[in-house]
């Protein structure tokens, strides 16, 4: 380690001397001037000037290789600050052809930072990668593998696949590890081209080197997520590995903050959570080791708590076990009571998972949850709302939805706003306690629906169509079926106006888009209006109707009176004429005829 420090120091100090370390005084000046720039505009100017000068110099013939390396580094710097340096890409590609490790490594770094895997220049690099994968120098192989992880895409996989598979058996563990990750990446890009090689992942799980084994857990996790049943046979192996890790049988190098290989433990816990889910037999193997980890975890360090949290997640996904659930509940308690916001956040999340198994767990933590809701920390608030969403029952739905609506008004992130709006609707639909509340909510929800309308107009995809459909049903049903209720609603003029506006909005939307939800609601409203025709006709006979109401009635009758064929046009007009005679003063009413 001491040696490492001095090497580090020398390399860092060497840069001040300039010359061979690849960072000339020019570069230092550049970085310094950027640092001292007072404004973004000034910074931009400096960089653009630099890019121009590099553009000229890099195109000169016979640039010494070391100089070129520095130019490339400076271009990386420019791109990192947000500017375009694409003229330099080809030079970076050329640099990967170089034999010297120093230059090749810089070339590979530059191309992985500059290019994405669909860039045209990739073709020029694939050959180099192929060659380098077969190099004697394991460091060059490593550099090539790292580059392959970023730059190889579906088309170029076949070109490098055979070598990468061979490298899984390379004597150097660093190479094997990178080969595993490269193979994983290929699998993600194109599962079909790698499917016949999956057994290799299983083999690497038994690798001597813990680093390689740890790296193999990544692809295995993905494979298990895709197809749990094929890997159930590995449950015992994973449990055994986890046990060894927890008992500190891995080299000390994997210790981190007094915990034994915690990152590997976490990966294993995630895998076991998948394998044990819904499977009593598989879960049975896992209980012991989980209990051990619960007991041994250091809850004083961040990483210890991270492992504990992962344990809780595992416990809540596998087949339930009373003792473990108690342990999980206890840890969750500790999280919620802690001062640290991070731990509270995890506590809320853990509570959300435990509630699915045992809803009563939430009871004893109500106060803590409410505290989090009131907390000024936005992240914590949002997390708590998610929890509330899971906790909603018919007894508390009104309160919760109220809160959610209040919160929704206050936030600016419209992505999140739409999410909350959808959630409110789902909850109301599921749990509405009474018709009355339903009506009130649906009426107030009409305005939330205005939001939805706007959302439909501008970004229909954002709102889940199923949610929207349910919302419409909700509004339609909320109108109430019994006559008395219907009458009182009809008399509520504001309510009717709302209906009208809703309808006009819909016509507008309906005309502009083919959004299914809008169409459905339009249909539902039309049906409603049809039904109302009868009631309206009846009411028309009454004296002293508010004129607003009258207008509504007239319009509805005008549009739908003859729709179902029950009443002839003349009958309706006759009725309306009677009305006009009774209400001579109002011009607007007349317009509706």
């Amino acid at each position: 380690m001491e040696q490492l420090k001095t090497i580090g120091r020398e390399l860092a100090m060497g840069s001040q001397g300039g010359g061979w370390t690849g960072q000339s005084k020019e570069f230092l000046d550049l970085v310094k001037s950027i640092g001292e720039a007072r404004s973004k505009a000034e910074e931009d100017r400096i960089i653009l000037r630099e890019i121009e000068s590099l553009r000229r110099r890099i195109a000169e013939p016979d640039v010494p290789r070391r100089r070129m390396k520095e130019y490339i580094i400076r271009l990386v710097y420019a791109e990192m600050l947000g500017h375009d340096a694409s003229f330099g890409y080809i030079h970076a590609v050329k640099m990967t052809h170089d034999d010297s490790l120093s230059l090749k490594r810089t070339g590979y770094l530059a191309v992985t930072l500059f290019l994405s895997d669909d860039h045209d220049l990739i073709i020029l690099i694939v050959n180099t990668i192929q060659k380098d994968l077969r190099s004697d120098n394991y460091l060059i192989v490593c550099a090539a593998l790292t580059a392959a992880c970023k730059l190889i895409n579906e088309e170029t996989i076949p070109a490098v696949l055979p070598q990468v598979v061979d490298l899984l058996a390379h004597p150097k563990e660093a190479v094997r590890k990178k080969a595993v990750m490269a193979l994983h990446r290929f699998y993600q890009r194109s599962p079909a081209s790698v499917s016949h090689l999956i057994s290799n992942f299983r083999k690497r799980l038994c690798d001597n080197d813990p680093g390689v084994m740890g790296a193999t857990l990544c692809p295995l996790f993905d494979l298990i997520t895709a197809d749990v049943n094929s890997y159930k046979d590995l449950v015992i192996s994973f449990v055994s590995i986890l046990k060894q890790v927890a008992e500190r049988r891995l080299p000390k190098a994997y210790d981190y903050h007094q915990m034994a290989a915690p990152f590997i433990q976490i990966k294993l816990l995630k895998i076991l959570a998948l394998l044990g889910s819904g499977d009593k037999q598989a879960s049975g193997h896992i209980y012991n080791v989980l209990g051990d980890i619960f007991r041994k975890c250091e809850s004083s360090s961040n990483i210890g708590n991270a492992v504990l949290y992962e344990c809780i997640c595992c416990v809540s996904s596998i087949y339930p076990n009373a003792k473990l659930l108690d342990a999980a509940a206890e840890s969750t308690s500790k999280f919620l009571k802690s001062e640290s916001h991070n731990l509270k956040y995890l506590g809320i999340d853990a509570l959300g998972r435990l509630i699915k198994i045992n809803p009563d767990v939430a009871e004893e933590h109500q106060l803590a949850v409410i505290d989090c809701l009131e907390d000024p920390d936005d992240t914590l608030k949002r997390k708590t709302f998610e929890l509330l969403y899971k906790m909603t029952k018919s007894t508390n739905v009104e309160v919760i939805v109220d809160r959610m609506i209040d919160y929704m008004i206050s936030i600016n992130d419209n992505h999140y706003k739409t999410e909350i709006a959808s959630r409110c609707v789902e909850l109301a639909e599921q749990f509405a306690p009474s018709n009355q509340w339903f009506i009130q909510f649906s009426v107030s929800n009409n305005f939330t629906f205005q939001t939805m309308n706007k959302v439909f107009e501008h970004a229909g995809d954002l709102v889940n169509v199923r949610v929207a459909h349910n919302l419409m049903r909700l509004i339609a049903e909320g109108f109430g079926e019994d006559d008395e209720g219907a009458d009182s609603q009809l008399r509520s003029s504001a309510f009717n106006i709302e209906l009208l506006f809703l309808h006009s909005e819909l016509e507008f939307i309906y005309g502009n888009s083919t959004h299914i939800a809008a169409k459905i609601l339009n249909n539902i409203l039309c049906n409603k209006f049809l039904k109302m025709v009868n009631s309206y006709l009846r009411i028309l006979g009454e004296p002293k109707l508010p004129s607003l109401f009258l207008q509504v009635i007239c319009w509805v009758l005008g549009e739908y009176g003859t729709a179902d064929g029950k009443y002839s046009a003349s009958y309706i007009i006759g009725k309306l004429c009677d009305v006009t005679e009774a209400h001579l003063c109002n011009d607007t009413v007349k317009v509706y005829f």
Binding site: L11, G214, N453, D587
Partner: protein
């Protein structure tokens, strides 16, 4: 539906609804709803909300790593998911605004556009990593710390200046810890060993080149 006369005219939708609603008492939420709907619609009209693009929808992945100074200057960026140059600038700007303004006692996680960003401040530098929503946030926090500890060992009490002037070396180290957005190596020793091997080879190459040029310059 415009009526030209009478005490009720169909003014633009918004004010009409407000007028109607103010007259009804038991539906106080209407007002709130209006505000919502128009706020949102204005926002939506102003910004194009297109599809998110093809981010990798599989979970358990780090999408990008960003190091920014307290003044919002970029020190290091590594993108493991496809982001165009313009998108990158937007991302950095948005996250700077979101993270640099957060107080010290708050969570080290923020929700952002359906993802989560875990960040931690070390002196004047913020280390940020963007992950999927159902990933283990505390673990990522410790991965950040793991990275910092390795940088510390390499540079010897690393400070922001080290990273500014040796950002390419920080990249080499990051490439040994994370690959394709996943944790590659959790042993500090293994990372240090590999970096040392690479550096010493580079050093040897430089010495050789240096001695050759010396010979050449001396012979002139």
């Amino acid at each position: 539906m415009v009526v030209h006369k009478g005490h009720i005219t169909f003014r633009p939708l918004r004010s009409r609804i407000i007028a109607a609603v103010k007259s009804s008492t038991h539906q106080h939420k209407f007002l709130a709803g209006i505000e919502i709907s128009f706020e949102v619609s204005d926002l939506l009209a102003g910004r194009a909300i297109g599809k998110r693009g093809e981010r990798n929808s599989r979970s358990k992945m780090i999408h990008f790593v960003i190091l920014i100074s307290r003044q919002g200057k970029v020190r290091l960026t590594k993108w493991y998911s496809p982001y165009q140059q313009k998108e990158r600038s937007t991302v950095i700007r948005e996250l700077s605004g979101l993270i640099l303004t957060r107080g010290p006692k708050l969570c080290n996680f923020v929700e952002w556009k359906g993802y989560k960003v875990v960040y931690r401040r070390y002196a004047s530098l913020y280390f940020c990593m963007c992950i999927d929503p159902d990933d283990n946030e505390l673990e990522i926090l410790e991965i950040i710390h793991h990275f910092v500890e390795i940088l510390d060992r390499y540079f010897g009490s690393v400070c922001e200046l080290d990273l500014i002037f040796n950002f390419h070396k920080a990249y080499y180290i990051l490439d040994e810890i994370l690959i394709a957005g996943e944790l590659q190596e959790s042993s500090k020793k293994a990372v240090a060993r590999l970096i040392a091997a690479q550096d010493s080879l580079v050093e040897t190459a430089k010495e050789e080149a240096g001695s050759i040029s010396n010979m050449i310059s001396q012979s002139i």
